[in-house]
């Protein structure tokens, strides 16, 4: 499809331009010429109609949750309720300036205060900060809180333990927090190897970052021993909340001994992913860590019955962003929790666990699971046995697109010997049985195709707006802007079918 730049026609406007030009105020008298660009900066010149058509057409080249099953493992691509969007769009929230005085923002503060209470109840933690903008941002915040805790105790700890099955953000966040990463192997059950953990944990180690159920979708039944190993050496246990969708109303990280918890509100709590954010990665802590939270948190004055921003104090790690949090995401989360209540939250986890185990049961004869046991809210299968037909997991994923499904997460987690060529499927509670039956049917059909006519897979996808992309070329011949493309115009020879657009 054409770029907006290729639709530009000199002289077109897409916005109403100012009428009163304030000609009595003269730019050239007020600013020295060297501070100004001498020519107008060239963007595009398109009408409002052009913009509406361009982006409407462009939007159709995306696939979203509203289009169908989006079974990305560890991503919890559940339905995003419309009422959440409407509530987050209320004018009194949307137009609120973050630095308005407290009497103007009592509603926003109340919502943050009450959401904190709800999230504490759901997770078993004592206080949340709403500041972090994403899961990884929350991880960094949590790690800095742990770091500060030990600095205050006067202890020098420089290592962080992370299982080999962890998300890449865990080691990356630990490194940003100044820690050396020590990888802990998974055992034949798919969970943390307790002996390796006990060996690695010492007085120089901050603690362990753990996802539970882990990224293979398995609940770590050794959690009691794990927390004892960590706490006996004075360490802290960090909970990566990417997979909380298996735990609502069933078990709480706070009760299992976790000291710091991050939640991806854009996963479990139904707020949209937006093609890669914005989400929110709020952090909950046990009471002993409250003094280190980013400042401020919301307080409530019992006498005046007013909410206010409370300074966390001198031990706070400081701010991790400007202003207070991704507020509209908090409104959506709050709305979702209120629409479900305790029983509804439990039903979400229950339905998602049944869904994942149903898919696992139906597909395990065709795609050997990493571990043959019941899973949580997601299951990890592999495409190993199709290697001998020249088929990679990537080909299976691309073939799914031809049947109208978004593929599951592939090649993650990756650790030998259990998890390679992985296909991680997460069918959240918002997927009904018929959808899963269709998906299962197609996955089985693809397994037959892999043996009988592998070229159908290796040449897939055929029914998407584009076919497979040349990612190597993108690095070898970088084109990162339209101006880069213009410079290379002579050597580029695209086969554009849709020249009119």
């Amino acid at each position: 499809m054409k770029l907006i730049f290729e639709k530009s026609v000199p002289g077109r406007d897409g916005v109403s331009l100012p009428k009163d030009l304030f000609n009595d105020i003269k730019l050239e008298e007020l600013l020295p010429a060297e501070l100004l660009e001498q020519e107008k900066k060239s963007l595009t010149e398109v009408s409002e109609v052009d913009v509406i058509r361009h982006f409407t057409r462009l939007s159709k080249f995306n696939y979203g949750v509203d289009d169908g099953l989006y079974p990305l493992g560890s991503c919890t691509m559940k339905y995003n309720p419309r009422i959440n969007e409407k509530m987050a769009g209320l004018a009194n929230f949307v137009y609120a300036h973050p630095l308005s005085s407290p009497e103007l923002i009592q509603g926003s503060l109340e919502l943050m205060y009450r959401l904190n209470q709800m999230l504490c109840e759901i997770t078993g933690m004592d206080q949340f900060t709403m500041a972090p903008a994403s899961g990884a941002h929350g991880e960094l915040t949590g790690i800095l809180i742990m770091r500060k805790h030990f600095l205050e105790l006067g202890e020098k700890r420089n290592k962080m333990l992370i299982p080999d099955s962890a998300h890449g953000t865990n080691p990356a966040s630990a490194a940003m927090g100044g820690f050396e990463v020590v990888e802990i192997k998974s055992n034949e059950r798919g969970t943390v190897d307790l002996d390796s953990l006990a060996q690695a944990m010492d007085e120089n180690t901050v603690g362990l970052m753990l996802t539970n159920p882990n990224t293979v979708g398995l609940f770590d039944e050794g959690i009691e021993t794990i927390q004892r190993i960590i706490h006996d050496k004075g360490g802290l246990l960090y909970y990566d909340g990417a997979n909380l969708n298996a735990s609502l109303g069933i078990n709480r990280p706070g009760d299992a001994g976790f000291d710091v918890v991050h939640l991806n509100l854009h996963k479990t709590f139904s707020t949209p992913h937006g093609g890669g954010g914005p989400g929110a990665g709020v952090i909950g802590v046990k009471s002993k860590l409250i003094p280190y939270l980013p400042t401020p948190i919301v307080g409530f004055n019992e006498n005046s019955k007013k909410y206010y921003f409370k300074d966390v104090g001198t031990k706070s790690i400081g701010m991790v962003r400007s202003f207070w949090g991704n507020f509209s995401v908090l409104v959506k989360t709050f709305t979702w929790i209120l629409s479900l209540g305790a029983e509804g939250l439990y039903q979400c986890s229950k339905a998602s666990i049944i869904n994942a185990n149903y898919v696992l049961t139906k597909l395990k004869d065709y795609y050997k699971p990493s571990y043959d046991r019941f899973c949580g809210h997601e299951c990890t299968l592999t495409g190993r046995e199709y290697k001998k037909y020249g088929i990679k997991t990537l080909d299976i994923a691309k073939r799914l697109m031809d049947y109208g499904f978004h593929p599951p997460t592939i090649y993650f987690p990756h650790f030998e010997p259990y998890a390679e060529e992985t296909i991680m499927i997460e069918p959240p509670e918002s997927e009904g049985k018929e959808v899963l039956d269709d998906f299962i049917k197609i996955m089985i059909k693809i397994s037959k195709e892999a043996k009988e006519s592998p070229e159908l897979l290796t040449s897939a996808p055929q029914r998407t707006p584009i076919s497979r992309t040349d990612d190597v070329l993108a690095v070898k011949r970088p084109i990162l802007t339209y101006d880069d493309e213009l410079e290379l115009k002579d050597e580029l020879n695209y086969q554009e079918k849709d020249i009119n657009y």
Partner: protein, 447 residues
């Protein structure tokens, strides 16, 4: 439950297929000791109509912010957003999808980000644009970390006129790395040039200056960056008010090595401070040290132009602890919003909007000074925010403004806790104010 399609009957069928007699069997691996023994104590579930009443009720405890026009900016600006953008942003295809890991099903997100990169590149005159870091503060911190990686030095110089939240965030991000952070004082509303000469040394990785700065002042970036480059130090320009890019000289034409810019002014609502978005822009030679995601153009198998996430070998899901940043989810949706906004404004629109912001701010300042109740502490070039001292009672001023549906300007003394600024107000003026409204504000404040 309207968000869970499978009925109890269907769930039973599924459990039977799985080979268990109850759901409990599926969660046997969760040790009894860590199970929740009670029901969560949460407010009762509400019907959709009750829910709406409840949350509208909370929202009404806020002021009527649609009606209240802000004379406050300080890193968050209320600009007009065309309805065409708002309507397009309703399209689910843009917001119910994940990060574009599968390019065949994500060309809308990918192409839109590529277009945004192209716009920002033209506005900043920088060839490489990272489209999305969470906000200006975290982008500034990421820029500082990037400079440390590029130079292998251990000192950062910050202008004291960098937004206070940005300063705090940089300090938080750098704390674990034992970095020496030096603050540059200001003089007459601008970063003190003389002091830079004094603080800059061979260990300095980067000098970070915001322009327009926290007081709205337009810094002499050319001189500052020239000085900075004498020590093989990188110059980072921070921008909180992206609208200024329409008329002000581009950072790339003034010697900036990295630009960290909030793009909130490009079509994003205030939203009580988030989610906003920020970009990082830099030179081609630094691409392997940038944090976050970047989109590039390539071919598909049939020779069609298409877009993919590129230079991925820097990222956390591939490099783990050796990644340039831990960034994963960013604020991509707000990039598309900004892309639509910039497409609507276009060449003429960005120039005229940028110019009218400047003119309206200067018009109001002129009128306020004429009234005799205000003085200006600095003689400095500024964009659409300016600092004035008020001679009267601050509480009465705030009350009068609120009565007239205006959010008062920032009381700088309260925000930055500096004694000298007890009487100082930081006004922000955008295109949303008409000449009549600005005259009315002057009249209210001159009484």
């Amino acid at each position: 439950m309207r968000y869970i399609p499978s009925t109890e009957e269907q769930q039973k069928e599924m459990l039977k297929e799985i080979g268990v007699s109850s759901f409990e069997e599926l969660i046997e691996s969760i040790p009894e000791k860590v199970r929740l023994k009670k029901k969560l104590e949460l407010p009762p579930a509400l019907t959709e109509y009750e829910l709406e009443d409840e949350i509208v009720g909370i929202a009404q405890k806020n002021a009527d912010f649609y009606k209240l026009k802000p004379l406050i900016g300080a890193g968050a600006y209320r600009h007009f957003i065309p309805e065409a953008e708002k309507a397009l942003m309703q399209r689910e295809e843009f917001w119910t999808c994940y990060t574009p890991y599968q390019p065949e099903l994500s060309q809308a997100t990918l192409q839109s980000i590529f277009e945004f990169q192209s716009y920002i590149s033209r506005l900043t005159k920088m060839p490489v644009v990272v489209p999305s870091i969470f906000d200006g503060a975290s982008a500034t911190a990421e820029a500082a970390l990037m400079a440390l990686r590029l130079t292998h030095k251990d000192k950062i110089i910050l202008s004291s006129l960098l937004h206070p939240h940005y300063q705090e965030t940089v300090k938080t991000y750098l704390e674990p790395h034992g970095i020496n952070i030096v603050e540059l004082p200001f003089q007459n509303g601008l970063t003190a040039l003389d002091q830079l000469k004094h603080s800059l040394d061979d260990n300095t990785a980067a000098v970070i200056v915001q322009s327009p700065n926290f007081f709205g002042g337009i810094e002499d970036i050319e001189t500052l960056s020239k000085l900075t480059h004498q020590k093989k130090t990188l110059f980072i320009q921070v921008i909180t008010e992206a609208m200024s890019l329409g008329i002000l000289k581009s950072p790339g034409n003034m010697g900036a090595d990295i630009v960290a810019g909030s793009s909130q002014s490009f079509g994003l609502d205030l939203n009580f401070g988030g989610p906003h978005n920020a970009f990082l822009a830099t030179k081609k030679e630094y691409i392997r040290q940038i944090p976050g995601r970047i989109i590039g153009e390539t071919n598909d198998k049939d020779g069609k132009r298409c877009f993919v996430m590129t230079f991925r070998a820097r990222e956390q899901d591939i490099r783990r602890e050796k990644a340039t940043s831990n960034m994963c989810t960013n604020h991509n949706l707000n990039v598309t919003a900004a892309n639509i906004y910039l497409s609507l404004l276009g060449t003429e629109g960005i120039y005229q909007y940028s110019l009218i912001n400047f003119k309206k701010a200067h018009y109001l300042e002129k009128q306020l000074l004429k009234s005799g109740r205000f003085t200006n502490p600095f003689q400095y070039p500024y964009y659409n925010e300016f600092l004035v001292n008020y001679q009267g009672d601050m509480e009465i001023l705030k009350k009068r403004l609120l009565e007239n549906n205006l959010i008062p300007p920032l009381e700088v003394g309260q925000f930055t806790l500096k004694e000298d600024f007890k009487k100082s107000l930081l006004f922000a003026v955008t295109e949303i104010f008409s000449r009549e409204e600005l005259d009315k504000i002057t009249a209210i404040l001159s009484r």
